[in-house]
């Protein structure tokens, strides 16, 4: 007979969840699918005394769209499973980049349990680079109020908060655009990322536009703004590709592990960028 010494709480809303967390003296953690936490516990991180389950909070277990200032926004509840998110028509049709990224996370069984919120809250999830390229915003609870900010800013925050919703504003149509989200793992599937790079090329009125984000492994994904700036507003024919990949290599700051060094990750990120650049050029002449 196994005995579980951890107390499991189930909160009916985010306020109660926060209160429970504040009231328990011992270690505690919010939990939904628990798939990422499980890997941590297996690797020796202390199992908490209290698990606060968020699965009963229905409000953030849905995907819907709104018109905000005449623009369509897609709202993804943080407690929606990755599998549900992946197959949802709004994500498939309007955020295919995110759908593609989610399809590379772990394995089907993990995606059935794990949530989009969990994938972001662990700060190294495979969906983050794509969401950064989509300029996603997040809704979160900081213990006092519900706030809205860009995902990019939220990732930089140090304070505890409870992620509630991911908001993606529909991109305005642009000509000759090409977007990509590539994950390179140690094997073909069910593997942590070594390098994840996502981007979007397009031609705007004032020249080329690039949005680029990269992560992978223990690296917190972030926008590569210096690389973007070298490309943005340039004439496509005069863009110095070598200089750009050189900048990417300098700006992308991956964390090494026992399997891959920083240099390898930088090289792969630059190579992937070049391949996508070529694909874009081929596609649009």
């Amino acid at each position: 007979m196994r005995t579980l010494e951890t107390k499991v709480w189930s909160a009916k809303d985010i306020y109660e969840a926060w209160e429970i967390k504040a009231s328990v003296k011992d270690s505690s953690v919010f939990i939904m699918g628990g798939t990422f936490l499980q890997t941590k516990w297996e690797n020796g991180v202390q199992y908490p005394d209290h698990l606060i389950h968020l699965g009963e909070i229905k409000e953030y277990k849905q995907i819907y769209s709104l018109q905000e200032h005449q623009v369509k926004t897609i709202h993804i509840g943080a407690f929606v499973s990755l599998a549900e998110c992946h197959k949802h028509p709004l994500i498939q049709n309007d955020c295919s980049l995110l759908a593609d990224s989610i399809g590379t996370i772990a394995a089907p069984a993990v995606r059935n349990l794990g949530t989009i919120g969990g994938n972001i809250a662990n700060r190294i999830g495979d969906s983050i680079p794509a969401l950064l390229v989509l300029d996603a915003e997040v809704l979160y609870f900081d213990g006092n109020e519900i706030k809205r900010d860009s995902l990019e800013n939220w990732l930089k925050q140090k304070e505890d908060s409870l992620l509630l919703e991911i908001i993606i504003t529909e991109q305005k149509a642009s000509v000759q655009s090409h977007q990509f989200a590539n994950k390179v793992g140690r094997r073909e599937a069910f593997t942590a990322s070594v390098v994840t790079i996502a981007g979007r090329f397009s031609i705007e009125e004032n020249g080329v536009s690039l949005i680029l984000a990269a992560g992978g492994g223990e690296t917190i994904p972030r926008r590569l703004r210096r690389t973007e700036n070298l490309v943005n507003h340039q004439d496509i024919e005069t863009i110095p590709l070598q200089q750009i990949t050189g900048e990417l290599i300098k700006e992308y700051n991956p964390i090494a592990d026992a399997f891959f060094a920083e240099d390898y990750r930088r090289k792969v990120a630059a190579n992937l960028f070049m391949v996508e650049w070529e694909k874009w050029r081929e596609k649009h002449g």
């Binding site: 297996e42 140690r186 094997r187 073909e188 599937a189 060094a261 240099d263 792969v268 070049m274 391949v275």
Partner: protein, 748 residues
Amino acid sequence: MGNYTSSILKTSRIRPDGIEKVTGKLSYLTDLQIQGMLYGKVLRSQYPHAKILNISVEKAEQLPGVKAVITSKDVPGLNGFGLIFPDQPVFCDSVVRYVGDAIAAVAAITPEIAEKALHLIEVDYEPLPVIDDPEKALDPSSIPLHPNGNLLHQASYVNGNVHESFPHCDVVVEETYQLPRQMHAYMETEGGLFIPEEDGLSVYAGTQHGYKDRFQLSRILDLPETEIRVVSSPMGGSFGGKDELNIQPYGALLALKTGCPVKIHQSRRESVCAGIKKHPMKITVKTGATKEGKLLAHQVRILADTGAYATLGPAVLDFAVEHAVGPYVIPNVETHGFCLFTNNGVAGEFRGFGGNQITFALEGQIDRLADQLGICPLEMRKRNLRKPTDCGPVGQEIAPTNGDELVLKEIAHSPLLKTEKAHKQDSWKKVGTGVALTMHGGGLGFGRLDPAGGKIALNQDGKIQIMFGFEEVGQGLLAVIETLTTKAIGCSTADLEIVIGDTDKAPHSGSSTASRGTSMVWHSLERLKGPFIEKLVTQASAISDYPKEQLVLGENGVWLCENSEEKLVVTYKQLAEEKTVSVETQFDFPTTPNAIPGGHFLYSFAAVAVKVEVNLVTGHVKVIDIDQAVAAGPVVNPIGYLGQIEGGTIMALGYTLLEEAQMEEGRYVTNNFDSYLIPGIQDIPASMHVRAIEDLWEGDSYGPRGVGEIGTIALAPAIARAIYEATGHWVTKLPVSRDEILQSRERI
């Protein structure tokens, strides 16, 4: 090459344990539960190398729910185990030599209490310098890990004179190959249930040799072997990893100490830490050939990292030394192998048994020489192949065979070798193909106790019982026994009852290792069938008055076969009511008559053709097609044969491209399956073909050879050659480094 799979479907039998396994209904020994059982846990060392200054178990003993805490003081017999030398302490009390060393064990009413109790055991250590490299272990200034130093075993083979021959070679290639520490990665981790009985102890724990476990446990427990029953089957995989004792001493000691049944089942993390692995080897080879492509000289130095204890390290090294020239005739050979103790995890038996490592080096040399001489790799191999009646690779007498020639001929027809080298879709992907050849000895070899045997009986219920001491480890043994027995005796599967893996019920058959199971079942039945049939037809003749010459065994009983008439004369049940019958046989695995330690007599052969796609963006190598020709005598159960070859091939794919139980300063970096990666379904080529060559050399009376290992050997060098063809880079270290592939492109 045709698709072998299609013909298999018509002739294969569904394995008796298949449905239960794929539906998850089968109870493994680690699934057993019994009322009142306790849970055992083992405290492993915190250091890879340290003196133990003090062990204090009082606090753990006082924890409510703890029923026993045991240390070396509680071992009534020999505080040691090991298949060759019992040099691994059951419990360490003065020094620890690797992170899996056991110091104490606990039995408690729940696994959580047992785990908590482990944390309450206080051990004072004085860390010692860590030897984490066999080169370091060889250094005379290194601290000796065992009384006789750090050299566990040395093996050599010298023929001719390499030093005089190299100057006569037109081309000489010298290279150092580095092979990784692979983990068996069996589905079921080590564990079992241990039940104290009135007259001794019952052990329900997976192993590859129940009788050997019984012997080793008898030494440790100071109990007569007859008072220990070992039930050792079925198992969720082993691949060599469970041949040595693992948790059995702790379960047994705790059960006897508490008088209660004790269950131990290691977590994956515990399994990684304590379990044995494949030997990492560093192999330096210098090989010379004439411009006509004739091999002239081959000089080999093997350094094997055996870790902290011996287990089968010496035998693995002997195997590697023996197979250093493989199926080739090289007039001048000098092979020296060294098996070194280190503070790394213990290395021991692993499917392939040293053959994988040495074949990677040998075939790598052949490919490099062929390349330098501008000779087709297949032709290079053909020019140097042994003749059917030639001696074995260390000059020993072997059963004549042309298996090498047959598989080489067959693989030359592989259509994948004729494929387009340029990638159709992506300019940043390169395609390459490669071929490799291997021969692999079966059985334990000369000078090693290698008994085999079996028993057949007509029992009181009228069932024909066929009994072997072997274990079902996932290899499909039950289907092999069923196929061979029904064919040899003539009865139906419904008449048959298979008994295996139980020292109280099945006779000695030797170990379920070294590709010997299928072969030994066949040999046993060759000896059993005549006397058994004779006894039954004689009995049936006496009952029925038909002459025994006209009687045969068939479905449900003994049949009359006279001219075109066929009728059931007497059922097995009726025969059993008259008299039960049994026949037993004992013999040894055939071995070479020459006194060469570990020298083999029976060999199987394989040639592999592989096609890879190298991604120049990431350095990733993807295997996209594999053809394989195997010569191992007649196929017993085609789908089982295919399963062994394909399964072995996938294991080899992991070994080549993904798997390494990495260690840093004697500690595992890869502690679980999230960091130690084995191939998933998407890493496996959609296309794999196996061609079985069943011909044996004229007069060969040794029947089918086992195929448990042969599928694992030749893939790695074939992939290395294919990568070279795709990129121009020779890989020397496994698993293949993507970074190295990218760097090699930068150099170009």
